[in-house]
Symmetry: C2
Subunit: 223 residues, 2 copies
């Protein structure tokens, strides 16, 4: 009479024993899902443990406090995103081509990993918490990457064009535009990653000035 006698509950009352590494991954997966749809504060550790199919103390034993858990999520997902983008950007290429590839990789990633994306994006404006460091750090890496790209672009053309060499704010603006487009995408899921990437190129590479004149950007042309 030790166990329950009503029996038959779909998830086994006592979870199967699994090695730590596996459980840690499961917990992180669950945490990403919960944090992404509730946000940091509204998410509860109880819900994370439910979704993970494990009891709460295990989370504390393996991943530490709520903040540490969240930081771990941020770090893992940020790394995945950065690798997805970094993987397609070849430094020897034409900057325009690099930008196109990077932007396309970004939207592809977001399309295939909504939760990963949202957990990074939804809490973006949070400061005052220790995990703000992780957030800011991830963002800084992204901005630095784009900023470097723009610097190379300026260099290749032999022009120090970018407003007194300040490409960093422009890179920040570009990421902001990307985030906003990704957000818009959530309400228009019928769009393809390519179409989204194209929009961002139109805005950021061509600018409204050109668009108004009927000149649009397309991936087919070279220069």
């Amino acid at each position: 009479m030790t166990k329950k006698d009503v029996a038959g509950a779909t998830p086994p009352p006592r979870a199967k024993r699994l090695p730590r590494a596996v459980r840690e991954r499961q917990i992180l997966d669950a945490a990403v899902r919960v944090f992404s749809e509730r946000g940091y504060h509204a998410a509860s550790m109880d819900e994370v443990s439910d979704v993970a199919g494990i009891s709460k103390p295990m989370i504390y034993a393996y991943l530490g406090s709520k903040e540490e858990l969240f930081a771990a999520c941020i770090q893992r997902e940020a790394t995945r995103l950065m690798e997805a983008i970094g993987g397609v950007v070849d430094v020897d290429l034409d900057p325009e081509e690099q930008l196109w590839r990077g932007v396309l990789a970004f939207f592809t990633f977001v399309g295939e990993n909504r939760d990963s994306w949202q957990v990074l994006h939804r809490q973006a404006g949070t400061q005052g918490a220790p995990f703000a460091a992780e957030l800011a750090e991830g963002r800084r890496r992204a901005v630095a990457m784009i900023s470097a790209l723009l610097d190379r672009a300026a260099g290749r053309e032999g022009v120090g064009a970018f407003a007194e060499g300040r490409t960093e704010p422009l890179a920040a603006a570009l990421t902001g535009a990307g985030e906003a487009l990704a957000e818009w995408w959530l309400e228009h899921p019928e769009e393809s990653p390519k179409a989204m990437a194209r929009r961002l190129m139109n805005l950021s590479w061509m600018g409204f000035g050109n668009l108004v004149l009927g000149r649009a950007w397309s991936p087919e042309k070279s220069a």
Copy 2:
């Protein structure tokens, strides 16, 4: 000996009797400050009441629940922002000029009302709460305004250029870029509103394609 004897506290122990309208404004002011620096969840009603120099039940009596209070903040500040921008955009003007003025008004507002701005921006990605409606609504208004501007721009030049007539996502991207720049501005407060507005025009009107070639945007030229 009724009051505190350590004395010197700026807000009197028992608040002076004031008409409801005045108190409501004070409470809203305090709420905007607290929400802007803590975010919705981390903010507590006790802190709001402290900052407002009044006791908690007054807030509930006048402004309702925490959610209603927050919604009221959003609505008031969103309206102020929209009016600041709407006030300088003259529909008869050149679209480029309109965009410039609107963008400049935006950064001017943000520079002078950091709290108002942050309370709107920091919670932007929150969904699932009733006040998400207010947030989304405010954003929709802003995007619609810019989108209409772009449509007029396309119309004036006689071109249906904007990627199959979809100016709305581009407008969304532009607001995202503006938000990201405003964020960047917080870490570089030495910049002027004009310099910030110029950056956004460079990105959105000229595009990187032009910037790379040494063509930058400036408010002095006309076309």
